[in-house]
Structures are given as structure tokens and as C-alpha cells.
């Protein structure tokens, strides 16, 4: 056991102990290291002014991703390479092509959001060879600019694609082999790390077994994977957490596999990691994931965490419930598997007993006769929390009758919930406009939604009904959902 984490900050090896479990990367950078290029705009992972890159080894390859430093906790950085805006320009002051493009296109006005945009564009440029407009807008979903209207920033992204990464000027390309070796060394002798600071402990378990053992001893520990939710408990509610156990580094939880039966997603798989597999298997789910948070949040946040925290407005549970997903919970003494929908007991209450953690979720594949769609409704299209999120999974028999239908909504009740009355009324009916329009009002028996700042109860109820209409029209072959980019453009 050791008492310090080790990571690389720009070019420097850092060994860091004595920090509290709620200390954020942003405060560390700005207050302890005076790396003030990284800004605080909101301290909740929504504005992107604090965007930095975190490099980590994934299946042996060094992979850099944008993250929000404001909600990234220090304990999650062991064995990573943290890259801030200060690392980009050459030592002689020559701007990196990403920075130069922002200057050339007049991409900054007040400049406060600019370092964050530079880092997001840099992350895109490193990961995507010839990004489409859709790729660019997706990469910028987690960055707010209030001055420019974004047009020059998108133009900068387009300009920079003409200069591909090269070891001649790009620090991460230049040092890639060396950094990978250093990170490999940091990870090569895993042992559990316990950092004590500010009177509280951060636990970085060496492996899944250590994690389970630790949780058995300290079942009240806060489990942190992506910290996209816990980060706000810290920055906004100022909660003191002790101990905190970090699991984002555990490879055992990071596997995602697809076979004939379905897809198995480890609890530590981020949205970004899951996207490629899920978008291929279930395009509608891919579209949904692209609208969850910004890129920085998707690079940190995990599907397991979205389930485990039991939010009534989490976007993953409705589609997974509609698909009949199963959840595996594990503890020191064993594991059990339950239907995902049974995990959500009541508002803020889940079927997770002391010492248990979410290990994986299994998503059965719809049949060839099946239709699946999920629709997210929010005030703003991207990077918004759903007013409601509705998922539909329909299986028809050979005569076109409803063999099985599962409808699940988020934002309509205290938990993600199925529309049992609607489902029951549709069962065995011929899937037709007549049948669909006849059951619309049964949604009122399934859901009594609330009015809040995201939407009124009336809007939620009406839209839930209309989404069934949309689903029907789409199964009849007429795509209705507004898409900013046609598939070929994307």
C-alpha cells in the first residue's frame, strides 16, 4: 500500500499525497500549480472553460480525452497524463496549429472560454482525421461561448484539419512513446493507494477484488467512477465525503462485448467507450448518447454510474429497461443479477445492499422483427438534461400483431418507469394507427409527471403521447425526428 498517486502533468512527473478526496483537478492546477490558463466557468461540468486532456492507457494504447477539470477529482488521476493549455505552444512561443487557427479565424472575443475550446479542438484533432461538421459540433457540445456565436470556432476546427498531427510540432505526438512507457511503468505494479488529507481518505484499489473487500469493510464509502454527478455534490452542495473509492482505472470494469444474445457493458465503461459499440448495434441509442452531456462528460461519465445513482432523469435507464436489460450487482461475497427495472425502488432508493456495487449491465439484442427507438426531449438539443426521455421496444409477430412491447420513460415519475397500461392495451393488437391512437390516453394512468423548470406536467404528458405517435410513424417507415445532419453528412 502506498500513500501517493503518481501522474504526469504536462512534462513533469508528479507524486502527490496528502490531498482530500474532494479536491478537484481544477483547484490543484490553479491554486497549487498556478496553471491559470485553465478557467473556472461553472464548476459543474457544463461550460467547458476548465477543459484539459487526460491521457490514459486503454488496452495498451495511449488515448487522450477531454475532461472537465472542475469536477474531476484528484484521486482519479493515478497513472494518467494531464495536459493543460500551457503545454501546447512550442517553447519558442510558436502557436500550435489549433491555437493558430483560433487566432486566424477570430475565434476568441472575451477569451475566457478560449483555452477550453482550444483543448476541445485539440482533443478532436488528435482523435479524428477528417472531422465532419457533425463531428466538430459534437466535440464542442461541452463548451459554452457567449461572445462569438461559434461560427469562427467551427471555422477554426475546419482550418486545423489541414494540419495533421506531426512529431515536428505536436508535443503529444513527439512524446507519445515515452509518455506511454512512463504510464505503463506507473501501472505495472498495482497496489492499493490510500491518500489521507483534510481528515478524509481516497482509496484507489489495486484491482476489483481489493475494491470488493474494501467495500465489505466500509459499505458507506462513496464510489466514484466518472464523478460527473459526485463532482457536483462537492462543488455545489459542498458535501464532505469520506472515504471515497475510485474505480475508473479498474480494467475489469471497462469491457464492453457484443455477441448474438446482446451487449454486456462493464460498469466502468464510459459513454464514449460504449458509443461505438452501441451506435453500431442500436443506432437510436447512439443518437441518444451523443446528446448526453458534452464530450468531456461522456469521456468521464459511465453507464454504470448513470444507473447506480438512481436518478429519475438519467438518460440510460429508459432505453435499457425497454430493451429488457439485466443488472449484475457484485459484492465481497458474490453476485446477483436482476432486471434493471427492478433496481429502481423509489425516488432516491435503489436495490443495492451494503457492500454491493454495480458490476455490469447486459442488454439483450432485439429480434430481426423488432423495432427500437429512444427519444430525448430537452429544452436545448445538446448537453441538456431531459425533460422526458421515452424508449420503445416493439416485437411484432408474423401477422403484424404486437407480440411484445416495452415502453419506458424517464422524467415522468420518481424513477425510470414502464408504461404498463399502454403496453397491456397494445399487446396482441394489430400494430396500426387505430390501435396506437386508441391507447394514447392510457399514459395518464401510467404517469403523473411534475411541473418544474424543465417542463410543465401538461407538456410532459402530451409529449409522451406524441412520442408514441412518432414511434408508430417511424415503424411505418417515415422518419420524423429532426436531425441536424443527414446520415451521409455525419
Amino acid at each position: 500500500m502506498t500513500d501517493a498517486i503518481r501522474f504526469i502533468l504536462n512534462g513533469e512527473d508528479v507524486s502527490l499525497g496528502g490531498f482530500g478526496p474532494t479536491e478537484t483537478l481544477l483547484d490543484y492546477l490553479r491554486l497549487k500549480r498556478r496553471l491559470t490558463g485553465t478557467k473556472e466557468g461553472c464548476a459543474e461540468g457544463d461550460c467547458g472553460a476548465c477543459t484539459v486532456l487526460v491521457g490514459r492507457l486503454v488496452n495498451g494504447a495511449l488515448w487522450y480525452e477531454t475532461v472537465n477539470a472542475c469536477i474531476r477529482l484528484l484521486g482519479s488521476l493515478h497513472g494518467t497524463h494531464v495536459v493543460t493549455v500551457e503545454h501546447l505552444a512550442a517553447r519558442d512561443g510558436t502557436l500550435h496549429p489549433v491555437q493558430q487557427a483560433m487566432v486566424d479565424q477570430h475565434g476568441s472575443q472575451c477569451g475566457f472560454c478560449t483555452p477550453g475550446f482550444v483543448m476541445s479542438l485539440y482533443g478532436l484533432w488528435l482523435s479524428t482525421e477528417a472531422p465532419s461538421r457533425a463531428d466538430i459540433e459534437s466535440a464542442l457540445q461541452g463548451n459554452l461561448c457567449r461572445c462569438t456565436g461559434y461560427e469562427p470556432i467551427v471555422k477554426a476546427a475546419e482550418q486545423v484539419t489541414q494540419a495533421r498531427p506531426s512529431t515536428l510540432f505536436d508535443p503529444l505526438e513527439r512524446d507519445r512513446t515515452e509518455i506511454a512507457a512512463r504510464l505503463w511503468e506507473l501501472r505495472s505494479h498495482p497496489e492499493t493507494i490510500v491518500v489521507t488529507g483534510d481528515g478524509a481518505r481516497s482509496i484507489i484499489p489495486a484491482n476489483l477484488r481489493d475494491f470488493a473487500d474494501f467495500l465489505a469493510d466500509e459499505p458507506k464509502a462513496t464510489i466514484v467512477a466518472g464523478s460527473t454527478d459526485v463532482g457536483l455534490w462537492v462543488t455545489k452542495q459542498m458535501r464532505r465525503l469520506d472515504p471515497v473509492v475510485f474505480i475508473n482505472h479498474l480494467p475489469e470494469l471497462q469491457t464492453i462485448t457484443a455477441d448474438d444474445k446482446g451487449i454486456t457493458i462493464g460498469a466502468g465503461v464510459t459513454y464514449t467507450q460504449a458509443f461505438d459499440v452501441l451506435a453500431l448495434e442500436l443506432p437510436s441509442l447512439g443518437n441518444l448518447i451523443d446528446r448526453i452531456g458534452g464530450g468531456q462528460v461522456r469521456n468521464m461519465g459511465t453507464i454504470g454510474g448513470n444507473i447506480a445513482n438512481g436518478s429519475p432523469i438519467g438518460d440510460m435507464p429508459p432505453p435499457l429497461i425497454a430493451l429488457g436489460a439485466e443488472l449484475t450487482l457484485r459484492s465481497h461475497s458474490g453476485k446477483r443479477t436482476i432486471a434493471l427495472e427492478d433496481y429502481f425502488l423509489a425516488y432516491g432508493k435503489q436495490d443495492r445492499i451494503a457492500g454491493e456495487f454495480v458490476e455490469k449491465v447486459f442488454v439483450p439484442r432485439p429480434t430481426d422483427m423488432g423495432y427500437f427507438a429512444v427519444y430525448k426531449i430537452s429544452k436545448r438539443r445538446d448537453e441538456d438534461i431531459s425533460a422526458l426521455c421515452g424508449a420503445f421496444h416493439l416485437e411484432l409477430d408474423a401477422e403484424g400483431r404486437v407480440d411484445d412491447i416495452r415502453i419506458a420513460f424517464g422524467g415522468m415519475a420518481a424513477t425510470p418507469k414502464r408504461a404498463r397500461h399502454v403496453e397491456k392495451a397494445l399487446l396482441d393488437q394489430v400494430w396500426s394507427w387505430g390501435a396506437v391512437s386508441a391507447v394514447r390516453d392510457l399514459f395518464d394512468q401510467d404517469y403523473k409527471p411534475l411541473t418544474d423548470w424543465r417542463a410543465s406536467a401538461e407538456y410532459r404528458s402530451l409529449t409522451a403521447k406524441n412520442l408514441l405517435t412518432r414511434f408508430f410513424l417511424e415503424t411505418a417507415g417515415a422518419p420524423q425526428e429532426l436531425q441536424r445532419f443527414e446520415l451521409e453528412e455525419a
Binding site: 459543474e44 493549455v85 475566457f112 472560454c113 459554452l144 457567449r146 461572445c147
Partner: protein
């Protein structure tokens, strides 16, 4: 600075009218541009946090701060009684805005105390430990509630009247009454408020403040400390965005930091959390517009009577001039033969609303555009036809007089609209949309072209003045300072261009320096789009004086006539001799020529009599127009902006790159106001949309998918402004009205364009769907 001063070249870097980059662009992209939170703190700097009320309207029965005072790291807790001078930060001198509430709270989140602690984290934690006992009083947070409760007005209303609206309104063939709700808007500058106060000797104090109005912060700090203005220096190098939100709202943070710094003899930094910033600072005013309009079969307006009621919050702040400007723009671009306009600045138990880009103008114009729409649907025409029919005319047309009795003398709106209508292919696209909608049951499209005419000048005539200070040092390098502040709009760049152009030297020679009350006093807020008009002219005045002295010196030294002296790029021709600029400067120094000057400018021609509702409040008008096309989903109310074309008038642009940036940015910000940005208070009077997780400003993926923005290159200001340019900060904001009206057209398709959808703002997906449902039921 460029040392190779003698380069015989034909042009300088950065003259007026060049598309120069923002002066800080290089620092922005490298993260080296210094904002106040990035300044290296003096040793032992303390940090502050607000203690905020959790009632919307209540008497404070008792305030128990014991737990706060003994919390870890706490050094001091400030209450209203600890203010050494006046516990008052009312910017217009009404004494209705305490720095800290003492006996009564009037909005949820109102500051009651401030905690000073060793760290910001400690201050924030301690601020939550107060025990406050309240006696609740009745509260209302919106305009409807204010009207129901007979709420008082925060300031005397304004009336603009011309002609005989009372009688004429009955004479026209048609008449209709309507009402529109218009929502407010959070500024969401990316850098939240911040102040760093550093105490000096005697009564002196220096305050770094993220403010658009350093002079007002200076006066407020002095007022709160009970000291003379001369003891306070306020500095601002740059803001991370302002948009009006840092015109008066910076005062509270600067004053609290200053009070603590003087009391404790240590530097104090005050940086509120984003949520605290959004809760404790004012926003754009919500409006409720009631109009009663008379018109003929063609859709020509004969008479109008309208009332503009506003949610002002608990005190006046800038609500007087904001509601005034709403009335000044209730004509949009239209001539009203007979008109009566009344403002109603209502008190509500919410944070006091304040300046925001457009300053009431957008709400004034939006009411007018809704009225135009209603008329268009009533007479069955394309709203664009009604718009054109009602435009102000040219001189001599008898249709040039505004409701405030100012002649519109520089009208180019017809030309702007005509050119844009053609370049955007408006008519053909509208026809295609009408056909599309006939065959599309769920997805509908809409298109709208809307005009902008915006009056330029502070309506408070005294604010239309500015000062500048220019030095040339012996090496020929130039130090520039003026009263304007840089919030991203490129003011510093443009004014530096003016100075470089005046001396005909490369702009690299001109050092742009932080705005400070110690160099240029008694400045106005950088607001009302006036920054370049005022400070550009003041800087020109200063530079011109020094240039005249250099010319006089050269005439003496070389015994030549004035005509023999010519300022070439980075050098001066004196007779037949070519003298490098810095050589001339050094020689002038040895001849004891004063190489420093203050410049001053005041806008000519303007005057305003508010009581009479008459005068010439504006020096000139800026114009523009936009066409937007949208697509909506009639099952959910979701929408997207497919394309926007803009033609905007900035006169002869001082810097086309910066001006295009203002147009694009203003448009998208305006679009946010009218679409996804919704402020939502609960029944306890709590603002529940107080962070970007709940308050949604536009993203890159919300901007128009096709975005064609052009400046009217033929335009020159009819008035002798700096370089014949026009103000650009606010006018483009209102181009976004085209988006709302395009959504409205898409909704109108549901009832075959027979009924005006009466879409209120912001047109969230919910409002769009509910409008669709209303029309379906008809």
C-alpha cells in the same frame, strides 16, 4: 515593440478599417491573458462569500452568526451595520439598494452578510451556517403577480405621445388588441463577477474589478467606505464577458471586498460561485406588452396605444432607462402616425433587473414585430409586406417622425431589406416552404425577414462623454489609455487602430493599457454600444494634439511650412528629409515638447426632455435585417434553425473582422433569449435556473446550420463619427427576432396561416408545442 522603426513601407500594420485580430487573441489561445482571478495574489489574501436570504420577502427578526464566526478559517463576518460609510449601492442615487439587507429582505438570495476567511472554500462553507429568523411578507415574482397585487413602480414611468391616438384609434377600418409575454435573460458571461481589493496607506484602496464601469465602482467604494473618490483607484484590464451584466452589478462584490480589505488591512478577493452570481445579480427585464392598434385594409398602421410593463425586481437599478429604451424602440422600424406609449416599471420580489445588450430595446422591438404579425394575419398577407408598408420614409415623405419627436434622417432600412430579400432568395424560399408544409403532416417549416433600427447614444445625455490619455515615450513607443473597458468586443483593438492611424505608425508601437480611474476620470460605463464612438474620438483628440505639437516642432526645427510635413508610415517627411518617427519624437523631447495629452469627446446634437417626451436622444441610427428559416416538429415542439442570412449596417467599419464577430455573436445570443433561455422561479420565489445545467444558452449545434453574414459595405455614417463608423455592440442582437417569427410561421401552418400563433418568448419546445395545440383546436 518593434525596434526596427525605420522600415520604408507603404502601409502600417493596423490602420483604421483593417480587419485586425483582437489585441489579446494570442494570449487568449495560450491561456496567458490575465483575468482578475489569474493575478498573483498578495501574501495573506483573504476570500469572501455571500450569506444569502432564503425568503423572497420577509422581515429579518434575528440574525445569529455565531456558528459562522467560529467556523474554520473565518476572519470576519460583515453585516450591514459594519459598513463604515453608506450601506447603499443604488447606481441612480435612489437609495433603494442596500449593499447588505438589515431589517428586510426583498428577494430570495439577497445578500445579508459576507464571510471573510482564509480560503474561498472556508468562506463558502461558513456562509451556510447562519441562523436567520424571518417574518414572512407577501411576495410576487412576476409581472402578473405585480399587477394583481397593485405593485408599486420602482421609478416614474415614461410616456411618449404624438398626434391624437385617442381619437384616431377609432377611425381606422380595423383595430385589434393583443398581449405578448417576453422573458428575461441571464447574461452568462463566462467569467463570473470578481473583485480583488488591496488596501493602501491612509484611506487609499486599489480595487481590481471585472466591471464595465470602473468610475461607478470607484464612486460606490468611496460611498460605502465614507471616503473621497480620490482615495479609490479601480482597474480593469479585461472582462471575461460583460453584456451589460457588469455595468452596475459589479458594485456589490467590489464594495464588500473593499470594506473587508480596509478593515483587516489585507487583500480580499471576492469571486462568487456561478450559482451565487446568477442568483445575486440582475438580468434582462421580462416584459408584458399590451397593444391596441388601428390599421387599414392594406395593413398600414394608423394609430397605436401600447403599454410596456416590466419585471424590474426589488429596486430601481437601471430599470428607468431600460424601460425608457423599450419605448424608444417600440416603433422598431415603423412610422406610427398617432401613438401613445407608456412604460410600467413594476416592483417584484426578485433580484433587481439590470442592463443587458439592447437595454430594453429588444423587448420594445419585439412587441412591435408581434403587432405587425397580428396585422399581417388579420389582412392575410406575408408579414414582410406589412413591415415594408409601415417603414419610416425618406426625408419629405411625412413619415419620418418618431414617437419621441426625433426625425429619422439617416434611414437606410428599405435598402437593407431590399438587398437582403434578393440575396437570400426570400420569395422563392417562402413559396417552397408553403408548398412543403402542405405535404408534411408532422414537420413544418417557417421563414421570416425582420428589420432592425437601433438608436445610438445614452439617453442620459451626460453619459455621452469620454476621455483618453496618450503618452509618447522617448523611444517613440506610445502608451494608450481611455475610459472604455474591454469585455471581448474589441474596443481596445479599435481604439489602438485609431491612434496608430493618427500617427501613421504600426499598431505594435501602441501599448494598450488597463482602464483605470487614476488615468482617465469620470468615465461613463462601456455600454449603449457607445464604446468606440466615444473613446475612439477621445483617443483621436489626444493623439491629434500631440501630433500637432510634433508638427509645430518640426516646422520650427526644420523651418518648413505645415504643408511640407507629412506623416508617412512609421516616418515623417519634413521638407525633403525623411525622419523616422522615433527620431522625431526624441528630438521633440530635447526641445521640451510635451509628449502627453488628454483627449475628450462629447457627442454633439443630442438632448432629451424625459418629462415632455421630446427631444433628440439619439445621434444616429444603426440598421440591419435578417432572414431566418426554421423547421419544427409539431409532435414535440422541437425546432432547428436551418439558415440565417444577415445584412447589417455598421457604417464604414473600423474593423470588419471584429464587427462581423459582434453581428454573429449578438445574433446567436439573441436567438438564445428567444428560444432556449428560460428563467424559472418557483412558488417560494427561488430562481431554479441558476447554473448552466438548468439555464440553457445556445451551443455550437444551435447556431444556424447555414449562416451568411454580411456588412453593408456601401454604408457610411451620415454623422462625423470616428472613421464614419457606426456602433455595433447591441443592434445585431435584435436580428434574432427573425428566428422567433420564422418559428411562428411554421406554427401558423397548422391553421393554414389564418391565425396569428401569438408565440410568446422564449419559444421553448414547450411553448411551440402548446401554440401548435392552440391552433389545432381552432
Amino acid at each position: 515593440m518593434d525596434k526596427s522603426t525605420f522600415e520604408p513601407k507603404n502601409t502600417i500594420n493596423g490602420p483604421m478599417h483593417a480587419a485586425l485580430k483582437h489585441d489579446s487573441a494570442h494570449k487568449h489561445v495560450t491561456g496567458t491573458a490575465e483575468y482578475i482571478d489569474d493575478i498573483r495574489e498578495p501574501a495573506d489574501t483573504l476570500h469572501a462569500a455571500l450569506g444569502m436570504a432564503d425568503r423572497a420577502h420577509a422581515e429579518i427578526v434575528s440574525l445569529d452568526l455565531d456558528a459562522v464566526k467560529v467556523a474554520p478559517g473565518v476572519v470576519w463576518v460583515i453585516t450591514g451595520e459594519d459598513i463604515p460609510g453608506f450601506n447603499d449601492v443604488a447606481s441612480t442615487g435612489q437609495h433603494d439598494e442596500p449593499l447588505l439587507a438589515t431589517t428586510k429582505v426583498e428577494f430570495h438570495g439577497q445578500p445579508i452578510f459576507a464571510v471573510i476567511a482564509q480560503t474561498r472554500d472556508q468562506a463558502r462553507r461558513a456562509a451556510r451556517l447562519a441562523k436567520v429568523e424571518y417574518r414572512d411578507l407577501p411576495h410576487w415574482t412576476d409581472i402578473a403577480g405585480a399587477l394583481e397585487n397593485g405593485a408599486p413602480l420602482v421609478i416614474q414611468p415614461m410616456v411618449l405621445k404624438r398626434g391624437e391616438p385617442e381619437t384616431e384609434i377609432d377611425k381606422a377600418p380595423f383595430r385589434l388588441q393583443g398581449r405578448m409575454e417576453i422573458g428575461g435573460q441571464e447574461h452568462f458571461y463566462l467569467e463570473s463577477h470578481i473583485a480583488l481589493a488591496i488596501p493602501g496607506e491612509d484611506e487609499d484602496i486599489t480595487v481590481w474589478s471585472s466591471t464595465q464601469h470602473p468610475s461607478e465602482v470607484q464612486h460606490m467604494v468611496a460611498h460605502v467606505l465614507g471616503i473621497a473618490n480620490h482615495a479609490v483607484e479601480v482597474k480593469t484590464r479585461r472582462m471575461g464577458g460583460g453584456f451589460g451584466g457588469k455595468e452596475t452589478q459589479s458594485n456589490q462584490f467590489a464594495c464588500l471586498a473593499a470594506v473587508a480589505a480596509k478593515k483587516l488591512g489585507r487583500a480580499v478577493k471576492f469571486r462568487p460561485d456561478r450559482d451565487e452570481d446568477m442568483i445575486a445579480t440582475g438580468k434582462r427585464h421580462d416584459f408584458l406588452v399590451d397593444y391596441d392598434v388601428a390599421f387599414d385594409e392594406e395593413g398600414r398602421i394608423h394609430a397605436l396605444d401600447a403599454t410596456y410593463a416590466a419585471r424590474c425586481g426589488y429596486c430601481a437599478d437601471l430599470s428607468g432607462p431600460v424601460t425608457d429604451r423599450a419605448l424608444f424602440h417600440a416603433d422598431s422600424s415603423y412610422f406610427y402616425p398617432h401613438v401613445n406609449l407608456t412604460s410600467m416599471p413594476l416592483k417584484t420580489h426578485t433580484v433587481s433587473n439590470t442592463a443587458f445588450r439592447g437595454f430594453g430595446g429588444p423587448q420594445g422591438m419585439l412587441g412591435a414585430e408581434r403587432m405587425i404579425e397580428e396585422i399581417a394575419y388579420a389582412v392575410g398577407k406575408d408579414p414582410l409586406e406589412i413591415r415594408k408598408l409601415n417603414f419610416y420614409g425618406q426625408q419629405g415623405s411625412g413619415r419620418t417622425l418618431t414617437p419621441y419627436h426625433q426625425e429619422v434622417e439617416d434611414n437606410v432600412i428599405a435598402r437593407v431589406v431590399e438587398e437582403l430579400e434578393a440575396s437570400s432568395d426570400y420569395q422563392a424560399r417562402r413559396q417552397a416552404i408553403l408548398e412543403f408544409n402542405e405535404n408534411s403532416p408532422v414537420i413544418r417549416r417557417g421563414i421570416a425577414l425582420t428589420p432592425v433600427k437601433f438608436g445610438i447614444s445614452f439617453t442620459m445625455t451626460a453619459y455621452n462623454q469620454a476621455g483618453a490619455l496618450v503618452h509618447i515615450y522617448q523611444d517613440g513607443s506610445i502608451h494608450l489609455n481611455h475610459g472604455g473597458t474591454e469585455m471581448g468586443q474589441g474596443l481596445y483593438t479599435k481604439v489602438a487602430q485609431v491612434v496608430a492611424d493618427t500617427f501613421n505608425v504600426d499598431i505594435e508601437r501602441v501599448k494598450i493599457t488597463a482602464t483605470t480611474t487614476g488615468k482617465v476620470p469620470n468615465t461613463s460605463a462601456t455600454a449603449a454600444s457607445s464604446g468606440t464612438d466615444l473613446n475612439g474620438m477621445a483617443a483621436y483628440d489626444a493623439a491629434r494634439q500631440i501630433k500637432d505639437r510634433l508638427i509645430d516642432f518640426a516646422m520650427r526645427q526644420w523651418t518648413v511650412s505645415r504643408d511640407d510635413i507629412e506623416f508617412l508610415p512609421n516616418r515623417v517627411r519634413v521638407g525633403t528629409e525623411i525622419v523616422p518617427f522615433d527620431t522625431l519624437v526624441r528630438a521633440a523631447y530635447y526641445d521640451r515638447v510635451q509628449l502627453s495629452a488628454t483627449g475628450f469627446y462629447k457627442t454633439p446634437k443630442i438632448h432629451w426632455d424625459r418629462t415632455a417626451g421630446r427631444g433628440t436622444p439619439f445621434y444616429y441610427f444603426a440598421y440591419g435585417a435578417a432572414v431566418s428559416e426554421v423547421v419544427i416538429d409539431t409532435l414535440t415542439g422541437e425546432y432547428m434553425v436551418e439558415r440565417t442570412d444577415i445584412l447589417h449596417d455598421v457604417g464604414k467599419s473600423l474593423n470588419p473582422a471584429i464587427d462581423i464577430g459582434q453581428v454573429e455573436g449578438g445574433f446567436v445570443q439573441g436567438m438564445g433569449w428567444l428560444t432556449t433561455e428560460e428563467l424559472w422561479w418557483d412558488d417560494k420565489g427561488r430562481l431554479r435556473t441558476h447554473a448552466p445545467s438548468t439555464y440553457k444558452i445556445p451551443l455550437a449545434s444551435d447556431r444556424p446550420k447555414v449562416f451568411n453574414v454580411k456588412l453593408a459595405e456601401w454604408s457610411e455614417n451620415a454623422e462625423p463619427t470616428i472613421g464614419r463608423s457606426k456602433a455595433v455592440g447591441e443592434p445585431p442582437f435584435m436580428l434574432a427576432i427573425s428566428v422567433l417569427e420564422a418559428i411562428s410561421m411554421a406554427v401558423a401552418s397548422i391553421a393554414d396561416y389564418r391565425v396569428c400563433p401569438k408565440l410568446d418568448a422564449p419559444a421553448t419546445p414547450e411553448r411551440v408545442l402548446m401554440a401548435v395545440e392552440r391552433l389545432k383546436a381552432m
